[in-house]
């Protein structure tokens, strides 16, 4: 090898990249809400197994090729007095070698890939099937017994969960990376997806097919509950809304009808609130997030949302077409918002 003085910065930088790559590979955190490398279900684990095999092959090839390149660049760089090098035109044996070896590596990658593709394809017969409908820009989930919820999708932890995916408008893609790989939702067809939970907890998801200007705000949470917690949550949707207690809640209850909210939103237990254009708000007070998982569900955020939904989720149907947001005469006053917040938070 040449003396150090002649080694160009490129060499150093290249070396740095090579040494750093595997370290950098650890730079993705498994703590991120949407991490793809911390599987928490059987399906996600299968995918991750497949990914890891390919990843390490890729690292190996990367190091091999880049080292070779770097070595060649340093070793064969032009020196003074260099003559014309030997004019080599090729070498058949080498051509065959570097055709066959990559082909073998690819076969080694293809086999686990095929295995995984078929393994994660079919929804098991005993899966608990939930109907998912993607809307611009929120998620609707309907349970086998007809209960409906939005954006915060509870599932029981003790059996395979399956989804039938449909859309109310444009293409979406359903994805909770720690639980399953994504599946696009296409108008006119019903795609399916499934997984078996391994642990209980909250798992974050997001729409991953561009679906219009609030695509970034179409998020969701999947909450894996123990079977008993899940059962009581589900039956909570069916039970009527609690009797209005405080005056604010009563006022909010009435405003929800008089301001036209009922035209689009359903709240279980209310005969007047059966709209299906917007998200179902049953048990809204229990939800951890609002505006399709873009904000934590607390008084401050809910007030902000009711005041100016357009600011939080540009283009959403409510701020575009609900009279209270399009007709200044009907706009909500601050006092009205306070009562609506109180009412919505009482929905438990």
């Amino acid at each position: 090898m040449a003396n150090l003085k002649n080694i160009r910065p490129k060499a150093l930088l290249g070396l740095l990249v090579i040494v750093l790559l595997p370290i950098l590979a650890a730079c993705s955190s498994t703590d991120n809400p949407l991490t793809t490398i911390s599987p928490k279900s059987d399906v996600a684990r299968d995918i991750h197994w497949n990914y890891q095999i390919i990843f390490w092959f890729a690292v190996f090839v990367f190091i091999f090729v880049e080292t070779l390149l770097l070595y060649a660049v340093i070793k064969f760089r032009r020196r003074p007095n260099d003559g014309i090098p030997k004019q080599v035109h090729g070498n058949t044996a080498m051509e065959i070698t570097w055709t066959i070896i990559p082909a073998l590596i690819l076969i080694a990658i293809a086999i686990p890939t095929w295995i995984t593709i078929f393994e994660i394809d079919d929804v098991p017969d005993d899966a608990y099937m939930i109907e998912i409908v993607g809307h611009q820009w929120w998620w609707e989930a309907t349970y086998p017994d007809g209960q409906v919820t939005a954006n915060e999708i509870h599932v029981p932890s003790d059996r395979p969960i399956g989804f039938n995916l449909n859309t109310a408008d444009v293409l979406h893609s359903f994805w909770v990376p720690q639980l399953f790989g994504k599946q696009d939702i296409i108008p006119g067809r019903t795609n399916t997806l499934w997984f078996t939970p391994e642990v209980e907890g909250r798992f974050f998801g997001q729409c991953v097919e561009f679906c219009g200007i609030s695509h970034a705000n179409m998020r969701l949470e999947m909450i894996v509950d123990s079977p008993t917690v899940f059962a009581s949550w589900l039956s909570g949707i069916d039970s009527p809304a609690p009797a209005a207690v405080s005056p604010a809640v009563v006022a909010g209850h009435d405003l929800f009808a008089s301001k036209g909210c009922v035209a689009c939103h359903t709240i279980s237990g209310r005969n007047d609130a059966v709209g299906i254009i917007g998200p179902n708000l049953s048990l809204f007070g229990e939800r951890l997030t609002l505006a399709s998982a873009t904000l934590d569900n607390n008084t401050e955020n809910l007030t902000a949302w009711l005041k100016d939904p357009e600011d939080i989720k540009p283009g959403n149907i409510m701020s575009e077409s609900a009279p209270i947001y399009t007709n200044p005469d009907l706009a909500l006053t601050n006092a009205e918002i306070v009562t609506l917040v109180a009412y919505l938070q009482s929905l438990k």
Partner: protein, 615 residues
């Protein structure tokens, strides 16, 4: 012979006049090449600025710099600009300038058609970008998935600009591709068999065929989209039983060959630079050529890997997984042959060589991440995340752009007649290499951390701040490297040292003539006895070309050059008027018809225009 080409008196038609009119009516392939190149670089700066705005918005969580509507326009137009208005025309610039020189011809087969290609490209590009001013640019992504593009979900004119802009650009590319097919197959100098062609010319031929066969597929898709939007023909409406997936199939049946349309010229450029600065012939010429050809064929058999998550069923997915992985084989062959080329050579690490080596290093990364999502099951976690963004930028920036910039440096003396500044060139390379990796490598992490593409905002608790911040810093470095590039080009073109005919001890025919080449290129059409014809000629196998016309003895010994023509620009203007007429049709098509008539009139006048100066 190198610098012996002086003024050839007989070449009376060789007009070297300057002035705007001479550029507007030019049919000289070198001038058209320069027009293509300069326009493409300007559009590259535009697309780069769009990317920079995107990076600024994403630099930190919950940023409020750009509204989501504008953000959608920016990422859509960034992709369209880079693909159709920057990389493709940069390829066309190289094809135009170099192919006739590399094959020993005086011009392309159809000089006026060539001018038409350029003007249609320019006007199509302006049409597409004018949407920013007239009510908003296309904002449904460059892939424009139905049904987001329907008149219900994309009301307004933006998607009509998309459709018509791409149709016009498609006609331009098709005309250029047809022209190059004929030029390369039919205008090679005596003795230049197919397997003696420079690899760059080979790749240009492959790309031209890809365009000839892939573009009509996109054209049909765009026409269907147009009819859907204008005339309510329910091509992609699920309510009528139509399938939005059909658009995806059509788009990617074009779109994947398009990827190779973007990268193969880059591979050709690298295959020229490496041998020159290694002073060795390309290792495994035949293998490199056939690898390029097989990549092109495979390019038509892998489109569905863009659709792994749409629900095609496991058998189709497994098949497309396999076919996609297969592409790694010819690609690997190329990489290893490039390695073989520098192995044992005498590497002159000048700017073009640095870019060529940088290309191999970066393209390898893009290739490997490509294999990672060729595995459909693994792709289920990567599709539509920043992992894919990282991949395409390693392939298209680290690959195509880095090679193209290297190519511009390499042939700069030939284009301009001046030498570029070597020191500035090296600074340019290192900054670009650094900026490129800083910008795009962290996107791998972002992708694995689940950051979806095309989101204009994200929450602070997602943990994406750090790498987004690094990427944005990287884009600053990248932007700086581009300014340095522009600076180097402009100052060198104005004040650079005069270039010799053959400054690099080159191997192919373009180095056998003066820098810049005279309008007629070759005083005598060379005769080719070997691959690397010029290298062979310099190194002893000296042969002299036969003067033009000497073979048949019938024609006069003057060099006929095609006359300038303004009909190409007239036809282009007609088509653009027609396009605007269609965008703003509001039920009647008067303006569109007028535009079409202007175009038809132009074609007629063109057909009856004398090709050669009557003497």
């Amino acid at each position: 012979m190198a610098s012996a080409v002086g003024a050839v008196g007989a070449a009376g038609h060789a007009s070297t006049e300057s002035g705007v009119w001479s550029w507007i009516t030019t049919v000289d392939h070198k001038r058209i090449g320069i027009l293509y190149g300069v326009s493409a670089i300007l559009f590259f700066l535009l697309g780069g600025s769009e990317a920079f705005l995107i990076r600024m918005q994403l630099a930190s969580a919950d940023a409020d710099l750009i509204s989501s509507g504008v953000f959608s326009q920016l990422f859509t137009m960034h992709a369209l600009t880079m693909v159709f208005l920057a990389i493709m025309p940069l390829g066309a610039a190289f094809f135009n300038f170099l192919i006739p020189l590399q094959i020993g011809a005086r011009d392309v087969a159809f000089p006026r058609l060539n001018a038409l290609s350029y003007w249609l490209f320019l006007f199509g590009a302006i049409l597409l970008n004018s949407s920013f001013v007239f009510g908003g640019a296309p904002d449904a992504g460059w892939f424009a998935y139905a049904n987001l593009t329907s008149s219900t979900y994309s009301p307004g004119d933006s998607m009509d600009y998309f459709t018509l802009g791409l149709l016009v650009l498609g006609i331009s590319s098709l005309a250029a591709a047809l022209n190059f097919v004929v030029t390369i197959l039919n205008m090679r100098a005596p003795g230049m068999t197919l397997m003696r062609m420079p690899v760059f010319t080979w790749m240009a031929l492959v790309v031209s065929f890809l365009l000839v066969f892939a573009l009509p597929i996109l054209t049909v898709g765009l026409i269907e989209l147009l009819f859907w939007r204008f005339f309510d023909m329910p091509f992609f409406s699920a309510e009528f039983g139509g399938d939005p997936l059909l658009w995806q199939h059509i788009f990617w049946l074009f779109g994947h060959p398009e990827v190779y349309i973007l990268i193969l010229p880059a591979m050709g450029i690298v295959s020229e630079i490496l041998p020159t600065f290694s002073r060795k012939p390309l290792f495994g010429y035949t293998a490199v050529v056939f690898a390029g050809v097989s990549i092109a064929f495979l390019g038509f058999a892998v489109w569905a890997h863009h659709m792994f998550t749409v629900g095609l069923g496991p058998v189709a997915i497994a098949a497309f997984s396999a076919s996609t992985m297969l592409i790694a084989v010819p690609t690997g062959i190329k990489v290893f042959n490039w390695m073989g080329t520098i192995w044992g050579g005498s590497l002159d690490l000048r700017t073009p060589m640095l870019f060529a080596i940088g290309f191999i290093a970066l393209f390898t990364i893009g290739g490997l991440s490509g294999v990672m999502h060729a595995a459909a099951s693994s792709d289920a976690q990567q599709q539509d995340t920043y992992f894919i963004v990282a991949h395409i930028h390693y392939v298209l920036f680290g690959g195509a752009i880095v090679a193209v910039i290297g190519g511009i440096y390499y042939w700069f003396p030939k284009f301009s007649g001046h030498m570029y500044n070597e020191t500035v060139g090296k600074i340019n390379f290192w900054l670009m290499f650094l900026g490129m990796n800083l910008t795009f490598f962290p996107m791998h992490f972002l992708g694995l951390d689940g950051m979806p593409r095309r989101i204009y905002t994200y929450d602070a608790n997602m943990g994406w701040d750090l790498w987004n911040g690094v990427a944005t810093m990287g884009s600053l470095v990248l932007g700086l490297s581009f300014l340095i590039f522009i600076y180097n080009m402009v100052t060198s073109w104005l004040n650079g040292e005069p270039a010799e005919a053959d400054p690099w001890d080159g191997r192919t025919l373009e180095w056998s003539i003066a820098s810049p080449p005279p309008e007629y290129n070759f005083e005598e059409i060379p005769i080719v006895y070997d691959r690397d014809a010029w290298w062979a000629e310099k190194r002893g196998k000296v042969q002299h070309g036969v003067p033009v016309g000497g073979g048949s003895g019938e024609e006069e010994h003057s060099i006929h050059m095609p006359q300038p023509s303004y009909w190409p620009i007239v036809v282009s203007i007609g088509l653009i008027i027609a396009s605007y007429g269609l965008v703003y049709n509001s039920g009647n098509f008067i303006v569109a018809t007028i535009g079409l008539l202007v175009g038809i009139f132009g074609v007629y006048a063109w057909s009856f225009e004398p090709v050669n100066d009557p003497e």
